[in-house]
């Protein structure tokens, strides 16, 4: 790590600011990934590499295909054509749960909190390699009790961090919309992923907490985790991301460090329509 832990832009030294450009050390590579719903081509990405150990933001107008692209990268949806390679593993035909076990974990734009389970049980579920998840071992608590205690300890620490400790034993279904977002992100971290894919993780989260969680995410990056996240709030994108990828109408139209994006003509056109020549104030989005 460099002395300046607030960003990891040195990882992008020498990388040109162009769509589809090669990275110095990509963890995830997508090639010719295309997905059409009937006549509508939702995603048509020629090439994208995601840099290991950096925070990459994926932005774009509503309906640009960001969520669909996430689904394709994590195998929750099957592309019509194209390949995705994560840490050297070709993901074609791999089940979604196996992708998670390879170390790439995603959250959902529309949260999937497990309503009739308590918050702490939601968290414990994220623990990987649990001995007690075998039916026969389940009958002998001494075989998994210690692991369960470790998982619970880690879960409690994360809940503290995400300001959910007071809801620990409540049903997740009683959480507010913002709290569900928090729970889902914390739960994804329970998997100890190498790479997290967060689909609008901070939508509806109050600004003060958002700030503290952004610091937490940066901390995770500094420990070596790769983050790819979708976000509409440009302040947050500017503040936290090391690299920004812009999608519009299914394609990647621009890439570069956050500072280079707002003045990019293709991005301005995508958000506001062409024939606009002022620099973009994306906050209005």
């Amino acid at each position: 790590m460099t002395a300046d832990s607030s960003n990891a832009q040195h990882l992008f030294d020498g990388v040109p600011f162009e769509p589809g450009t090669s990275k110095n050390d990509p963890i995830l590579v997508a090639d010719n990934v295309r997905r059409a719903f009937g006549g509508l081509v939702a995603v048509d990405v020629e090439h994208l590499e995601v840099q290991r150990g950096a925070i990459t933001a994926l932005i774009g107008p509503n309906g640009a295909g960001k969520t669909t692209f996430f689904n394709l990268l994590t195998n929750f949806d099957e592309p019509d054509t194209g390949s995705r390679v994560f840490e050297g593993n070709d993901l074609s035909g791999v089940s979604a749960y196996k992708v998670a076990n390879l170390g790439m974990v995603r959250t959902f734009q529309l949260t999937k909190s497990l309503s009739k389970m308590t918050v702490i049980d939601n968290m414990r579920l994220g623990g990987t390699g649990q001995a007690g998840e075998s039916f026969f071992r389940a009958l002998f608590p001494f075989m998994w009790r210690r692991q369960e205690a470790e998982i619970t300890e880690r879960a409690d620490a994360l809940l503290e961090r995400f300001k959910l400790s007071h809801m620990r034993d409540e049903f997740a279904g009683t959480l507010s919309g913002g709290q569900r977002k928090l729970l889902e992100m914390a739960r994804a971290l329970m998997v100890k992923p190498n790479m997290v894919m967060l689909d609008e993780p901070m939508a509806g989260v109050n600004p003060a907490l958002k700030q503290s969680l952004l610091e937490h995410v940066k901390g995770l990056r500094d420990e070596g985790m790769t983050v790819l996240f979708v976000e509409h709030d440009m302040d947050m994108v500017q503040e936290i991301s090391d690299w920004v990828v812009v999608m519009a109408e299914g394609r990647i139209i621009a890439e570069g460090p956050p500072a280079s994006i707002a003045s990019n003509q293709a991005v301005v056109d995508a958000y506001l329509g062409s024939h606009h020549d002022s620099a973009l104030d994306l906050e209005a989005d």
């Binding site: 979604a96 998670a100 959902f108 999937k112 497990l114 309503s115 579920l125 739960r187």
Partner: protein, 330 residues
């Protein structure tokens, strides 16, 4: 009015043979539906697997009783779960529902087909395959036990039934407090969420189908042992729906729900049966309104009415919690 008979019969329904085999079947459904969210509308076929696994092993194949237990409790239900689960468990929940209904009817119709008489005994079924079980009966066949409710052989059947029931309840209770049960509940709530956390939802659903199927098979086998006969008409679709009634009545996703549900269902069925009969016999109900032969139908109408009232006033079942129910609406 013979109040003694009324009380005795109601109590027998509460704890007797039908209570035991419907509790077992309903505990299987609880595993499927209550904990995993699988829709099984053919629990009767798992029950039939238990009954025919034992009886065919002994009568048709000439194996001993112990091989029969293995076939009926393990081999038949697991095969069935694989056959029904492999094509459907990757799909939406409704597909399993369709396949289980179809499988249970197919099994019944095939089993009673005359051309299979040599194997299944067709519509007469198979008999006298549980002698080994009764050889172990410690009770005196001539005597009555348990407040005079059961004669010796029945007492033996019911006692073993209670023990099996307790063991199954213990297994459900233990596994549902374990990480394994947690994954099942997560799949019930949202399969994709479970998958996104690295859980092989398909495999867990298959395990649930198998284990709930084995509970059902134990129920069916128990019924076959109690009557020393396995017949196709013991496994009509009504049997599946009785098990569902027991589950809904008691409350899904509670360990004791299906047991309480089955006890109450058979307690009420027996009570209304004897009570109405007595009312008719003693002319409290005139012949013009109802005669003795109609009692059987009327008691089901009363049960239906009771279920409607339950659905309106206590939709979570007798032992379910209202708070959990309310979460569905958010």
């Amino acid at each position: 009015m013979d109040w003694g008979a009324i009380v005795q019969n109601s109590f027998r329904g509460f704890i007797g043979e039908p209570f035991i085999y419907f509790s077992l079947a309903a505990m299987g459904l609880n595993m499927h539906y209550g904990y995993t969210g699988l829709l099984n509308f053919g629990q009767a076929v798992f029950m039939a697997a238990g009954a025919y696994g034992l009886s065919m092993a002994v009568v048709t194949l000439g194996l001993n009783f112990w091989w029969g237990l293995l076939l009926g409790i393990v081999v038949f239900p697991l095969l069935l779960a694989l056959i029904m689960g492999i094509p459907t468990l990757r799909l939406r929940a409704d597909y399993l529902a369709i396949v289980t209904i179809a499988a249970s009817e197919m099994f019944r119709i095939i089993a009673r087909s005359p051309s299979l008489d040599r194997w299944t005994g067709s519509s007469d079924g198979l008999t006298a395959f549980a002698n080994t079980f009764y050889d172990f009966n410690p009770f005196d066949k001539q005597k009555r036990y348990f407040f005079g409710l059961f004669i010796g052989n029945q007492m033996w059947v019911v006692l073993v039934g209670w023990i099996v029931l307790s063991l199954v309840a213990l297994i459900v209770w233990m596994t549902m407090r374990s990480p394994w049960g947690r994954v099942l509940r997560a799949i019930r709530e949202d399969e994709d969420a479970a998958r996104s956390l690295g859980k092989n939802a398909y495999s867990f659903k298959m395990q649930s189908l198998m284990i709930g199927g084995i509970f059902g098979a134990l129920g069916g086998m128990f019924r076959a042992i109690g009557t020393q006969s396995a017949q196709p008409q013991n496994f009509i679709t009504d049997v599946t729906f009785f098990a569902w009634v027991a589950l809904i009545l008691g409350g899904a996703a509670k360990v004791g729900g299906p047991i309480a549900g089955a006890a109450i269902l058979y307690g009420i069925l027996n009570f209304t049966d004897v009570f109405l009969r007595q009312l008719v016999e003693n002319d409290y109900i005139p012949e013009s309104v109802m005669d003795g032969t109609q009692v059987g139908q009327v008691r089901f109408m009363l049960i239906g009415l009771g279920l409607i009232l339950l659905a309106v006033y206590r939709p979570q079942g007798i032992f379910g919690t209202k708070e959990e129910m309310a979460l569905d609406d958010r």
